[in-house]
C-alpha cells in the first residue's frame, strides 16, 4: 500500500475547498427559469391554420404518436373548373408520452404547421393527460421563438435569402418614397410623414403584393421606423383610401386577456402557460370583434387592438428550418394559396378592411413569443420573415399581386370562408397577371 498520508490527499482537500469559495454552478430552477436556445426541442406546437392534413408528419413519426382526423369538404368549382375537395382538420393530437422528441415531424411538415417550442413544463400525473389536442398545441405556438441566425460560412436557406433581398428592395423603395415625401413637404411632423408614406408607396409603385406581404419585413427597417405612425394614423388611412389601408407598420399591441390570465394563474397554471393561453383568448376575442367590425362597415377604422394575425408570430419561425423553400413560393400553387393568407393576410385594401395592419403587430410583439423576456424577441423579429410571406414577397418582385375582386366576391357569395376566398382570388389574379406577362405585357417591376 502506498503512503496514505500524502500530497495527493492534501491536494484533493485543496480542490474541494477552492470550489467552496466559488459560486455554485446550479440554478434555482423553479425560481429561475432556464434560458433555452431557439432550437430547443421542448414541445411541439401546431399552427393548425397551416396544416393541410397531408399526413406526412403522422406517417414519418417513428412511433406513430400523432393522431390526425379530418374530413373532406367540397369546394365549389371555380368558373370553368371542377369541384374540388379539401381536407379539414378535425383532430390533431400528439401523445407526448410516446413521442421521442426526434423532431422528424417538424422537419417533414411541408407547410410549417409544426414547430418546436422550448416550453417544457407540461408534466402530468396521469400518462393519458400527456396526449395533447389541437387547442393546446396551438397555445404553444405563441412561445415559438425566432430561429437563430446561422454560423458564418453557412449557406443561407433559399427562402431567407429571397426574403432578405425583398426586404432590402422594399427598404430602398420606402427610403426613396420617404425622401420624396420629405422633399415635397420638408417640415412635416412624423405622423404626417407616416400617413403619406403608404400612399407614396402606391404611387411609387411599391407593389400591392409587396405591401401586403411585407409588413413584418418592412417594419424594422430604419425608414419604416421613421414612418412608423401611431396606430390611429394607420387605421385612419385604412378607412379612407384603399391603397393607404396598408401602412407597413401599425403598432397594435396584442395584449393579453387579463381575466383569463388571472383565472389561470389562480388555477395554478405556470405563469408562462397562463400568459400564452390568456393571449390566445384575447386573440380569439379580438379577432371576432374585428370580424364584426368588418361586417359592420368597411370604412370604420380598426379598433386599436386590431384583430390578431394569428399566424403572424409563429410563422416567422420556420424560415430557419430550411423548410419548404420551393413549394409555397408561387402563389399559383394551391398550397400557397392556403398558406399565404395566413402568413400574410393579404390585400385588405381590396376588400376595404383594415386587416392589413395586423401581421406586423403580433409579429413584433416580444411578449407573444418570449414571455420570459427572450432577448431574441424584438431584435430578431426583424431578421426573419415567414417563408410564406417571403415567397409571396419574392414573387412580388416581379409580379404585383392584387386580389381579383370579381373572384373574391363570387367566392364569398358561394359561402367560402373569407380567408380562402381571398387567397383564391389572389391566386386567380396572379394567374391572370402571369398570363398577361407571358403574352408580352410587362407587369413586372
Amino acid at each position: 500500500m502506498p503512503a496514505l498520508k500524502g500530497v495527493g490527499l492534501l491536494k484533493g482537500l485543496g480542490v474541494t475547498l477552492k470550489t467552496m469559495t466559488r459560486p455554485a454552478a446550479t440554478r434555482q430552477y423553479p425560481h429561475v427559469k432556464p434560458d433555452l436556445p431557439a432550437r430547443s426541442r421542448g414541445v411541439i406546437a401546431l399552427i393548425e391554420e397551416n396544416c393541410t392534413v397531408c399526413m406526412l408528419c403522422a406517417r414519418e413519426c417513428p412511433d406513430w404518436c400523432i393522431y390526425i382526423d379530418s374530413h373532406k369538404e367540397q369546394v365549389a368549382p371555380k368558373e370553368g373548373g371542377r369541384a374540388r375537395t379539401r381536407n379539414l382538420l378535425d383532430r390533431f393530437a400528439i401523445d407526448f408520452a410516446l413521442c421521442m422528441y426526434c423532431g422528424i415531424c417538424v422537419e417533414v411538415c411541408p407547410f410549417d404547421a409544426l414547430h418546436w417550442s422550448p416550453e417544457f413544463e407540461y408534466a402530468e400525473h396521469q400518462i393519458e393527460k400527456l396526449t395533447h389536442e389541437m387547442d393546446t398545441l396551438r397555445t404553444w405556438a405563441y412561445s415559438v421563438p425566432a430561429p437563430d441566425p446561422l454560423e458564418e460560412g453557412a449557406i443561407e436557406p433559399k427562402e431567407i435569402e429571397s426574403a432578405r433581398k425583398a426586404r432590402e428592395a422594399v427598404a430602398a423603395k420606402a427610403a426613396a418614397a420617404a425622401e420624396q415625401a420629405r422633399a415635397a413637404a420638408p417640415p412635416v411632423p412624423a405622423p404626417a410623414a407616416a400617413a403619406t408614406q403608404p400612399a407614396a408607396a402606391t404611387t411609387t409603385g411599391a407593389a400591392a403584393g409587396t405591401a401586403t406581404t411585407t409588413p413584418t419585413a418592412a417594419a424594422p427597417t430604419p425608414v419604416a421606423g421613421d414612418a412608423a405612425p401611431a396606430a390611429s394614423a394607420g387605421a385612419a388611412g385604412a378607412g379612407t383610401t384603399t391603397a393607404a389601408a396598408r401602412p407597413a407598420d401599425v403598432e397594435v399591441e396584442p395584449g393579453i386577456d387579463q381575466a383569463t390570465y388571472d383565472r389561470l394563474l389562480a388555477a395554478g397554471e405556470s405563469d408562462r402557460t397562463a400568459r400564452a393561453k390568456a393571449k390566445a383568448a384575447y386573440m380569439r376575442r379580438a379577432k371576432a370583434e374585428a370580424r364584426a367590425a368588418q361586417a359592420a362597415g368597411a370604412t370604420e377604422p380598426a379598433p386599436a387592438p386590431a384583430a390578431p394575425a394569428e399566424a403572424a408570430a409563429p410563422t416567422q419561425v420556420p424560415a430557419g428550418e430550411g423548410a419548404p423553400a420551393a413549394e409555397p413560393a408561387s402563389v399559383e400553387t394551391p398550397a400557397a394559396a392556403t398558406a399565404a393568407p395566413e402568413t400574410a393576410p393579404p390585400a385588405p385594401s381590396a376588400v376595404g378592411t383594415p386587416e392589413g395592419a395586423e401581421p406586423a403587430a403580433d409579429a413584433r410583439d416580444p411578449d407573444a413569443r418570449s414571455p420570459e423576456g427572450d432577448p431574441t424577441a424584438s431584435g430578431t423579429a426583424a431578421e426573419v420573415v415567414a417563408p410564406g410571406a417571403a415567397a409571396a414577397q419574392a414573387d412580388a418582385e416581379h409580379l404585383e399581386i392584387e386580389v381579383d375582386q370579381e373572384t373574391y366576391d363570387r367566392l364569398i357569395e358561394a359561402g367560402e370562408p373569407e380567408r380562402t376566398a381571398r387567397a383564391k382570388a389572389k391566386a386567380a389574379y396572379a394567374r391572370k397577371l402571369r398570363a398577361a406577362q407571358r403574352d408580352g405585357g410587362g407587369a413586372g417591376s
Binding site: 414519418e60 426526434c102 422528424i104 428550418e321
Partner: protein, 396 residues
C-alpha cells in the same frame, strides 16, 4: 480434497478446484465442516450497475469465486426495429443504445448508409460532424470520470463532471435543440447548420475544459486512496482483451494503441493531429487515466476542427425517400466507449433488410468473468466501474 494447512481445526484456503468449496474447517473428529458459498445478485437493481445489468456472483466471504453477467433486462430490439424504420428514423433510434454518445451513434448510421449509397458529403458537414462527435466523446468520458470515483465512495467528482458536462451540453443544445438524443446527423449531411457563434463558443470551451481536467487529476488521479483502490485491480492483459474483442479505453489501457480514428480513419480524422493514449498495466487505474488522456486528445482535435470548418453547404440534396441501393456495407467507428460498427444489407428499399450493430459495451462487459474471478467484493465495484459501459449499449 482439501489442502490442509492448519492443524486441528485450523482454517485453510483451498485452491479453486471448481467445487466452489472455500474455507475448510475441521472439527475435533477431523470431519470437514463446509462453509457455504453465498450467491449474491448484484443487480439488476443495484446502485453500482448504473442501469439494469445483473451480475450473479458466487462469494466465499468477500472473495468472488465466480461472476456471470446476466444481460438482457434492457433489450429493446434495435436491430429488428431498424428493419422497419427508414434511415432518418434509424438515426433517431440509435441515439438511444448508448445514450451518452448519441452523435457518435448516429454518425455511424449516416456513414454506413452514405457508404452504401456512395454519397459524397459536403466538407463543412464532415468537419461539423467531427466537432460534434468529439464533444460528445468528451461528454461521455466526463460521465465516467465522474461516476467511477462515485462508485469508490468519492461523491464530489460526479458533481464536477456534471458541471462540466452542463457547459458542453449548453453548446450541444444550442446547436441541435436536444440534450441527450441530439438527432443531428442526416444521411448526406446534417440536419441544419450551426447557429451563429457556436464555433466561437466551442473555441472558448476548450481551454476551460483543460483547466478543469487538472482538478480531476488533483482530486482523483493523484489521490493515494484512489490509487490504492485501483492500482493492480482488474488487470486485463492485452491478449485477453483482444480475445474478448474489448475495445476503446479498456484496450488502450492494456497497452494496445487501437483506435479506428487512427487505424481506419473515417471523416477527416486523418487530417488532424492526435495521439492514442495507452496505459501500461491494464488495471483500473490505467483505464481511468486513459479516459482522462482521451479527453485531452479530443480537446486537441476540437481545437483543430474549430479552425478548419470551411464555408459551404451542410447537406446534399436527396430525394424525399432515401433508398440505399442493393448490397451491403460496413462501417466501423470509434465511439467513446470503443469500437462501434454498423453493418447493413439493403434491398433497395426504404428500410434496410438487415441492420446489425456491434456495440462496444457488449464485448467489453463480456470480459467481466475473467476480471472478477478471485477478487474481493469491494474490488468488484472498482473493476465494474472501470469497464465504462452503458447498459443500453450492452442489451441494445
Amino acid at each position: 480434497m482439501a489442502t490442509e494447512l492448519g492443524q486441528q481445526g485450523g482454517a485453510a484456503f483451498q485452491a479453486a478446484d471448481g467445487t466452489g468449496v472455500g474455507i475448510i474447517v475441521r472439527d475435533k473428529a477431523d470431519r470437514e465442516l463446509h462453509t457455504q458459498d453465498m450467491t449474491l445478485n448484484v443487480g439488476p437493481q443495484h446502485p453500482a450497475t448504473h442501469g439494469v445489468l445483473r451480475v450473479l456472483v458466487t462469494l466465499d466471504g468477500e472473495m468472488i469465486e465466480d461472476a456471470q453477467p446476466v444481460i438482457g433486462y434492457m433489450h429493446r430490439s434495435f436491430e429488428k426495429l431498424a428493419e422497419y424504420r427508414d434511415y432518418r428514423q434509424i438515426i433517431a433510434l440509435v441515439n438511444r443504445h448508448d445514450w451518452v454518445s448519441s452523435i457518435c451513434n448516429e454518425l455511424g448510421v449516416a456513414l454506413v448508409v452514405e457508404r452504401q449509397m456512395d454519397l459524397e458529403v459536403p466538407e463543412r458537414a464532415t468537419w461539423i460532424r467531427m466537432l460534434m462527435a468529439e464533444w460528445t466523446r468528451v461528454l461521455n468520458h466526463l460521465m465516467f470520470v465522474g461516476s467511477y470515483p462515485l462508485e469508490l465512495g468519492a461523491i464530489t467528482p460526479m458533481f464536477y463532471a456534471f458541471r462540466e458536462r452542463e457547459e458542453i451540453q449548453a453548446l450541444m443544445e444550442w446547436i441541435t435543440g436536444g440534450r441527450l438524443h441530439l438527432t443531428y446527423c442526416r444521411v448526406g449531411g446534417l440536419k441544419q447548420d450551426l447557429p451563429r457563434g457556436a464555433i466561437q463558443m466551442s473555441r472558448d470551451l476548450v481551454p476551460r475544459m483543460r483547466e478543469r481536467l487538472k482538478e480531476y487529476e488533483d482530486l482523483v488521479l493523484g489521490n493515494e486512496i484512489f490509487a490504492a483502490r485501483t492500482k493492480g485491480i482488474g488487470v486485463l492483459p492485452a491478449d485477453v482483451a483482444c480475445s474478448y474483442g474489448v475495445s476503446g479505453a479498456l484496450l488502450q489501457a492494456a497497452g494496445v494503441p487501437e483506435d479506428s480514428r487512427k487505424t481506419e480513419p473515417y471523416l477527416f480524422y486523418d487530417q488532424v493531429e492526435f495521439d492514442v493514449p495507452t496505459g501500461r498495466n491494464g488495471d483500473s487505474y490505467d483505464r481511468y487515466a486513459t479516459l482522462l488522456a482521451r479527453i485531452r486528445e479530443s480537446l486537441r482535435i476540437i481545437e483543430q476542427v474549430n479552425e478548419r470548418i470551411p464555408p459551404g453547404p451542410v447537406n446534399v440534396k436527396l430525394p424525399k425517400v432515401v433508398r440505399a441501393p442493393q448490397g451491403h456495407a460496413y462501417v466501423r467507428t470509434e465511439a467513446p466507449l470503443g469500437q462501434l460498427s454498423y453493418y447493413m444489407v439493403s434491398h433497395n428499399e426504404k428500410t434496410p433488410w438487415r441492420f446489425k450493430m456491434r456495440t462496444p459495451s457488449f464485448n467489453n462487459v463480456s470480459s467481466l468473468p475473467y476480471l472478477l474471478k478471485g477478487t474481493l467484493l469491494p474490488d468488484m465495484i472498482a473493476v465494474m466501474g472501470s469497464m465504462f459501459f452503458i447498459v443500453g449499449d450492452i442489451d441494445r
